[in-house]
């Protein structure tokens, strides 16, 4: 296990390579996420954003390189992936709530089963979270009865219930209609203010510019451009980035 440089980073990717069959999805990706910062991954569909997040959570096995969580190499085969995942929260594009459980059961599942929190305590914490997210009255409802925006907020509550060290958000507003996007993004903004470390793949460029401390533009499995939002959006160095951004401007999305 090498913990040579930058042990302060919560998440660090070092020359990560990932292939599916013959297609190379990530090649030589480096990334560093400092505590209490937000990193936005932008790029067109298929550029590798989601794969990068899945690799960081060990849902995908990388081919080469290494991923470090708090300085510990988690891609070491001897590391138990379950203990790693306990420290990372994930929110998916399609919410992936458990349809056979109520909202409260969805949120308390991991605290109770994985972290051994007693039922009462887990439920109190879940209700507190729901209250904060404006869903206090929906604790007993099943996910199918909620709107998309409510479901996504429940998914965020579920990820937060175990007090993760790092939160990975995979295009969490992509399946929501514009009216509901705002309520979910507002929540992410609040989390940032509380100091949560987050990595988010997003198509909401305005939001990325507002909230992110670091923006990474992925293209063809490579981090083509990385910097502060002002640098990436204001003065992109790469031709490819400029084209991507200008297309967004044309589409009225930036």
């Amino acid at each position: 296990m090498s913990t040579t440089d930058a042990p302060q980073a919560v998440l660090r990717l070092e020359s990560v390579r990932k292939t599916f069959g013959t297609s190379v999805v990530l090649r030589d990706v480096d990334l560093e996420v400092a505590p209490h910062t937000v990193t936005a991954l932008i790029g067109s569909s298929g550029s590798g954003k989601s794969t990068l997040l899945r690799c960081a959570n060990l849902l995908e096995e990388i081919d080469d390189g290494a991923v470090f969580l708090d300085g510990e190499e988690i891609t070491d085969p001897r590391v138990d992936p379950d203990t790693v995942r306990r420290r990372i929260g994930v929110v998916f594009q399609a919410y992936n709530l458990f349809p056979h459980m109520t909202v409260l059961e969805n949120i308390t599942l991991a605290p109770r089963r994985v972290h051994g929190v007693p039922r009462d305590e887990a439920e109190d914490r879940a209700r507190e979270l729901l209250e904060r997210l404006g869903l206090g009255d929906r604790a007993g409802a099943y996910p199918d009865r909620l709107s998309g925006g409510q479901q996504q907020r429940v998914a965020i509550a579920r990820a937060l219930a175990v007090r993760p060290r790092l939160l990975l958000l995979d295009e969490i507003t992509a399946a929501l209609d514009p009216e509901l996007v705002g309520e979910v993004l507002g929540l992410v903004r609040e989390l940032k203010e509380e100091g949560m470390t987050m990595v988010l793949a997003t198509h909401e460029m305005g939001f990325a510019r507002d909230v992110a401390d670091q923006v990474c533009f992925l293209d063809g499995g490579v981090v083509l451009e990385r910097g502060t939002p002002a640098e990436v959006f204001g003065a992109p160095r790469q031709e490819r980035t400029r084209r991507f951004l200008s297309r967004l401007v044309e589409a009225g999305r930036l």
Partner: protein
Amino acid sequence: MTAEHPATAAVALPETQAPSDAYVPSARRLERERIRRARTRRATTVATVSTVVTGTVLVLAVLASPGWPRTRETFFSAHYAREALPKVLDGLLLNLRLLVICGAAVLALGLLLAIARTLRGPVFFPLRALATAYTDFFRGLPLVICLLLVVFGVPALRLQGVTTDPVLLGGTALVLTYSAYVSEVFRAGIESVHPSQWAAARSLGLTHRQALRHVVLPQAVRRVVPPLLNDLVSLQKDTGLVSIAGAVDAVYAAQILAGKSFNYTPYVVAGIVFVALTIPLTRFADWTTARMDRRRTQGGIA
């Protein structure tokens, strides 16, 4: 049997809980509803008439057939039915006992086999291979042959401490065959749960086992309740096959009586008893499934 199906049946006016605004149905709406009601009435009439006509024709056709008096005596004799019913019901107790005990064993073993087949990793290879071989073999083996082999083959081995009771051995054979079927049903259910559910469970830190137990299996089992019930009904009927080993169940009881009197009414009685048994089972399963769905999606678009 209806020529015109009542698709537009009875759209009830929500008059019972009047909305707060001063809404008065327009003439257009009233006219529309009048037409719908008239159409529903007509459909109901057509259905009733056609049912009565079809039923009458069927009954007349049977009653007018040249062999009917003889058939009625041989298959539908009230005298023999009265005589057969208590014996058939006695035998049915054995079928029911077999159904309950074998059914529970089949569900448990089937689920274990299905889980064994979903395990990943080289450690579990032997288990996985064994479960696969088991399902392949017992699903292919005809039930009657399985029964004959177990019921007559096992006692022939003269193993110490192994039963020779035909009911126990017959039950074992039923469990062997049916657990292979049921394990495939469970496996299909497990595989029908979307991979994103696994991903969500694992990303919360749940182990494979916990994800299976709390997230995947509850959804899988719910989905396969109807096909499982199908297998249980089928098992219920096949419990009659243990009679080949000499156990007296409902079918065998009927056979004994029919053999004595050369009257087939006992078979009809046994058949009716079996049908009467499966119908409540089916309705019960429909009801539970519907209730689960309702609870989950109430108020939403399922």
